[in-house]
Every structure is written in C-alpha cells, then in structure tokens.
Symmetry: none
Subunit: 418 residues, 2 copies
C-alpha cells in the first residue's frame, strides 16, 4: 500500500516554514508496512486543496492530511476532503458541545466560526484530540472500486503526534495485513560521524537484511537499525545481534541503547548512585538546567542552581572570589573551578557543574576576557573530593556554541559517573 501526505498551510509555501509532521507520519506509516510515495504541500486555497486532494485520492491508498482543521476561514481541509470525495460534512453534536464547554471552562464565549471544527465527513470516525480543539477524522471508504483510507489530522505537532499514535495507528494496524518490524537505536555524543562510520561499517555491512542509518546532528550521532521479518522474534533477533556487536565496538562512547536522551541518562545514573546535581551557568544562561528539568521527575537528582550572567552574580550567588574574576576574567579555568565548587557548597549538592564562556557573536568585553576567542568555554565539575575543569574551543553561531557547551557538560558528568 502506498501513502500520500498532504501538508496544508500557506505558511509552508513561504521561505520560512517547512512541513515537519511528515517525517513523524512517515516513520509511523512505515512501521505498518505502508510506503510513502508522494508528499504534497499546498496552501490555504480551496481550489488548490480540492485539486490536490483529488489527485492524492486517485494515486494513493492511504491519504493523510495534516493541518487546516482549525477554526479560522483559512482552515479548509474538511471542506476540501469532502468535495474531493464527493461526500457531505455534518456537524457532530458531541464535538459541538465539547467546544462550547472548552470555552466556557475558560469563561469565554465561543466565536461562531469555531463551530466548523465540529464538521465531520459522512461515515468518518472522529478521533478525540486531547491537546487541542479540532478532532481528527478517519475514513475507510471505497472510491471507484478502490479502498481508500483518508485521515485528517490537526497541524500542531503536539496535537498531531498523540492523535496519530493513539487513534490512527491502531486503526490502520487492524485494517492492514500484519507485518513485523524491529528497531534499535544507539546514541553517542561528541564523536565525529566519520569515525563512527569507519568503525561500524565493517560490522553492519554483514547484515544486509538490517537497514542501518547514521544520523548526525545536535551534538549527537545516532545509529538506527531496522529489520522487517515474517515474525517479530526473527526481526528482533537480527537487530539485537547487530546492535550487540556495535555496542562492543563503540563501548562507552554509547550513552544510550534504549532511546534515552543524554540528560535522561545522566539523571538516571545520578539517581542510581543517590547523588544530586546543581548547576552554575554563565554563557548557557539556564540551558543546561532547562534540559535537565525538561525530563519528568528530574527533581529526584537535579536540585537547581544559578544563572550567573554578570560578574557580580558569580560572586554573590555562587561564591566566586572577586579577585579571581578581576585577575583571570570571567571566562577562565579558575572561575569555572570556583563556580563549580561554589554552587556545590551553596546548594549542598553532591556534584556541582559550572559553564562559563563566550557564546558570541561579540567577544569578551574587557579586561582579561578581551583576548579570548568566541567559542572558548570552560566547564567545571566539583564532587567534594576533586574539581576538574575542561577547556573547549567550539565553532559555530551562538545557538550552536551554547548547545554544544551544555552537551559537553552532560557528557562530562556521564563520564565522571561511569
């Protein structure tokens, strides 16, 4: 069976926005043995949308619309799908009631145009949207003697993803012949892609029935393995065998073999050792703390910290001696050292980690920092017995430098805990 995704929204026809939902949808459809054959991106234009919908219904078996289900006049996916299929829309009373309640709960009156979100394709199953107001729709029908599965999903990823996983995939799985896929992923940080490929290619090339993909990005390398077999046991056995050999080769460069992020791994390792962590961030300005606290229940190991953006706060909130800053500059091994020890002492954490550096675009303002290049970062780690500082010289723009600095700090903690 082949699929087409129609991403709806004029914003995706500008130079500024891109369809990203289709990557997620493709992964999910592939899992079910559905191959992606076309993707169409079309604006909020009824004539264009109907045209695109007709073409997709003609040439694909599974047609997924993403976007255009909102309450505005620009939201035309329902109307276009109905017109292309030659069927009617009818308002669903339960959805209409839910919409009114949603507004009432916020003590607001629902604008009349919101009611169109309750319009349903005849015969379609409504898919409850727990994260937004527009429900999805699922229609398994026959057009000109061919079975067609037409799926309407809201555009925001936070709504589309859970709806697709919880409501679409189970329905599609029972509608399609069974097929078994096994996947594994290994994640590594701060190691060049070319090195990973050189070390792993001789191994994965011996497994032509396992699809291996190396992805690099966000200061991380991912190795994806995928096998499709007549039984799940066969698929899993092949993937596990290959993964085991690659794990042996790459050893402790691998931080995760079950999908966890680097911050999750660090929090897990801290938790297992009954240790706590506190952060003192300068150039990353809370990015490290933010990444740690994005993990649910991170408070069991991460207790907090400071964002010490100015020299004064490095002294007042994290106990760095003013003389150290004056003589060595805020971007220095010495300040990173005192920051890590200072935040550890002030918070009572088992481990204190500090980041200070120049994220750019401007360089060091004055004094000892003026000579240091953009990208110079010091990361300090204090555990009460010893304090170590690592110097980094990172390349790229402000965003990249900050992200890599936080990533290096996490990797430093992970290696410290190994």
């Amino acid at each position: 069976m082949i699929a087409e995704i129609i991403a709806v929204g004029s914003e995706m026809l500008t130079p500024h926005r891109q369809d990203t939902n289709s990557l997620y949808l493709t992964a999910g459809l592939n899992d079910l043995g559905v191959e992606m054959a076309f993707k169409t991106i079309v604006g909020d234009n009824l004539r264009h949308l109907i045209q695109a919908a007709k073409i997709a219904i003609e040439r694909a078996d599974v047609i997924v619309f993403s976007g255009g289900l909102g309450p505005t006049e620009d939201d035309l996916t329902r109307e276009a799908a109905a017109a292309a299929l030659g069927i009617e829309l009818h308002p669903d009373p339960a959805i209409l009631t839910a919409l009114y309640k949603r507004f009432a709960a916020r003590q607001m009156i629902m604008p009349p145009n919101n009611a169109k979100q309750a319009d349903v394709l005849d015969e379609a199953v409504l898919l409850e949207n727990k994260n937004g107001s527009a429900p999805g729709q699922y229609l398994d029908t026959v057009v000109n003697g061919h079975r067609k599965i037409v799926i309407l999903l809201p555009g925001p990823p936070s709504e589309l993803k859970p709806l697709f996983d919880d409501a679409v995939k189970p329905r599609l799985a029972s509608a399609l012949p069974p097929r078994y896929l096994a996947r594994r992923m290994l994640r590594m940080a701060l190691i060049p892609e070319s090195q990973v490929d050189a070390r792993t290619a001789p191994i994965y090339k011996q497994y032509p029935d396992v699809e291996t993909t190396i992805l690099a990005g966000n200061a991380e390398i991912q190795l994806h393995f995928l096998s499709a077999k007549p039984t799940l046991a066969e698929a899993q056995a092949r993937v596990d065998e290959l993964t085991g050999k690659i794990e042996h080769e790459m050893d402790d460069a691998i931080f995760s073999s079950h999908g966890e992020s680097l911050e999750e791994v660090v929090l897990l390792m801290l938790g297992m050792r009954h240790l706590t962590l506190a952060t003192a961030e300068s150039c990353t300005g809370g990015l490290l703390a933010q990444r740690l606290t994005a993990v649910p229940n991170s408070s069991s190991a991460f207790i907090g910290g400071t964002v010490v953006y100015t020299a004064e706060l490095k002294t007042s909130l994290a106990g760095v001696a003013k003389e150290t800053i004056d003589s060595k500059g805020t971007v220095s091994e010495e300040v990173a050292h005192e920051l890590a020890e200072g935040i550890r002492a002030r918070t009572g954490a088992s481990i204190g980690i500090s980041i200070t550096g120049l994220a750019g675009p401007a360089g060091g303002a004055s004094g000892p920092d003026a000579e240091k290049p953009v990208g110079r970062i010091y990361i300090g780690l204090a555990d009460g017995r010893q304090t170590t500082v690592k110097e980094l010289n990172l390349m790229g723009n402000r965003e990249r430098i900050r992200y890599w600095a936080a990533q290096q700090a996490l990797e430093l903690i992970r290696r410290h805990l190994l």
Copy 2:
C-alpha cells in the same frame, strides 16, 4: 504567476531526510513576484515522476525540479520532464565533451551511464554547473496554449543555489513582467487565534489584494501580510495601510511589528528604561533564563537568577521563608510572591520575576501542593514598589506547560513595562 517545486529523491520520502532546497527556491521566486502554490516530493520512480510532472505543468506556470539529474539509473528527472512535456531529449555534444574531460582530468574512464547527464530537453537552454557534473536546464515553452517555464536543477544545495542565483534568476527576471512584493508581520502572544481572526478578518477582508495568513504556534500568533504590485511603492503602501489598521485594532496585544521575538522585545524595553531583570524559576527550570540569554547582548538587561527546583533551594538561594512553603506549599501565590521579591533583593535587579507551578506529568508531591492540579502555575513580579502574582491554569503536556509559563512570564514583564 504561480510556481510548483518538484523535489525528486526517494530519501525525502523516508523519516530521516527532508527537502530543504525549496525554502531557498521559494525566497528567490518570491523576489521575482512568483508565488509558490504547490510543492511535491516524489521518489526516484519514473511513473510517479512523470505523473507529478504532468500535474505540475498543468497547474503551475513555473515548474522547478530539484534533484534527479545525476548519472545513476535512479536519476530520472530529465526523462520524466521530457515525457510529461511530450518532447524529446538529445545529447548535447559540448556537455558530453566536458563530461569526458572531467573524468580524464581525474585520470578515470567515464562509466557509460554518465553520458545521460548530457541529455537535454529539446529547445532548453543548458545552465552550466560549476560545482558538479550535471548541468541545469531552462525551458521557456508553450503547452496547450499556455506559457510554461520548466527548470531542472541538481539536488545538492551547493550546486543548486549558485545555479539558481546565477543562471535561473536573471533569465526569469527578464522573462517575467516586473512585479514587486511587500511583506509585514505582526506578532501577538497569549491571545486565542480565533479571537485574532474574529477581530482582524473584517479589516483584512477589505484588502483582497493583500494576502493575509494567520499562524499560531509556540504560544504566539503571527499575522503575515503580502502584497504584489507593479511597483514596490504600491505594494508597500497597501501592506502598510492594512498593517496600520490591524495594529490599531489589536493595539497592545501586538508585541512586535518588525519581527522581534517576545524575549527580544522585553530586553529592548528593559534596556530603553535602564532596568535590569533577574529570574527565579522552579517548574520552568531555567527555560525563561535560557530564552532570554539566547538573545545576543542580553546581558545588558538580564543579569541572571536561580533555578530553585527543590523547596530547600527556594529558601537558601531565593530567600523564601520555610514557614511559607510549609503552610502554603511550593506551588502557591505566597511562594511566587516571596520568590520574586527574594531574587530581586539578592541580585539587585530592578525587576524580579518568579515562576512556580506543576508542569506534570505527576502532580504535587505532598502537603499543601498535593491538591493542586497539573498546569497550575504562579508567576510573581516584584519591582520594588509592588509585587503582583498571576495564577494560571495551563493545559497540555510538560513541555507545553513549561513553554507557556515562560511565555506568560515574558508577556507579564512586557505589559508591566508598557
């Protein structure tokens, strides 16, 4: 005139790779007054490609293919374009010679299939590719009485971009009537999309010659305006007139009319008033500080703060009384109040802002917090004269609740500074 981009390549139908060339091409085409109407992504499949090419030639005036011009059997764009147009390909002797020379220069023998890179659509102009072996092609023709401009470009961005800029844009510019585009964008936070639409639609509907797009996402609403006219002055005048009326209607709900982000606007306003800001974050765990410090030169107004994830740190790092936490819970108006005042006092900032709440997925652990629902957030703002606290009840998952809480905090500061 409307355009369609056909991005060719099976890798863009996997979950891992995306078409990115089209953003660049769209910007360039918009510059020339050509509007993007459709994007199609199709694999290396001749039947699918011919089908997609026929559809594009039917519905668009300018059709740009990216990719599929290489030497392998999978490279089928030339063949598909010829078939869809009903014309022939012929080998270009000069290109063929250049290909042979290219290989000879590397002391290699050219594999026979490479010769297909010299195949040219009848009547097409060849576009020399200085960065690769496959030349581009440019065909200005008439199909069924309609003028069609068909452009073939290689897929690698390092080849496509210079070819498009140097060889395609000048040809298109002289082939098309001069037409100029003007754009504006207004940004608003924390206001429902439907409300924005209800209030602005009566205005923008009076400007059918200005394309208005409402984008919602990331706790923000964007209104995009676009007008194309024979002169830039006319286009700009229409867009400015409409933008002015919408600004008048939405008034201070608009935080930006020149593209700045909410954090940039807050930092600008603080800077203009010679004020400084410090943060004390609990559930957002550094997200607010991280967003502020992502802006270059944010240190002129943002001095730093604390991430007080545990109850103990709320006391030790931000001066919240232990009794307040014990009696009211960490998620309380009173704690937000003391946190905002505490961080202001400890850092010497003009304004202290605090965020405490339950981001989920688990609810309050024990004591007074146990009864509070996930999504309950308190934001405190202290400016030395008075301290205000706002209670929020946010919906969604942990990520969304945290982002909205930070957004609300920024909007609270902005409105405080108005």
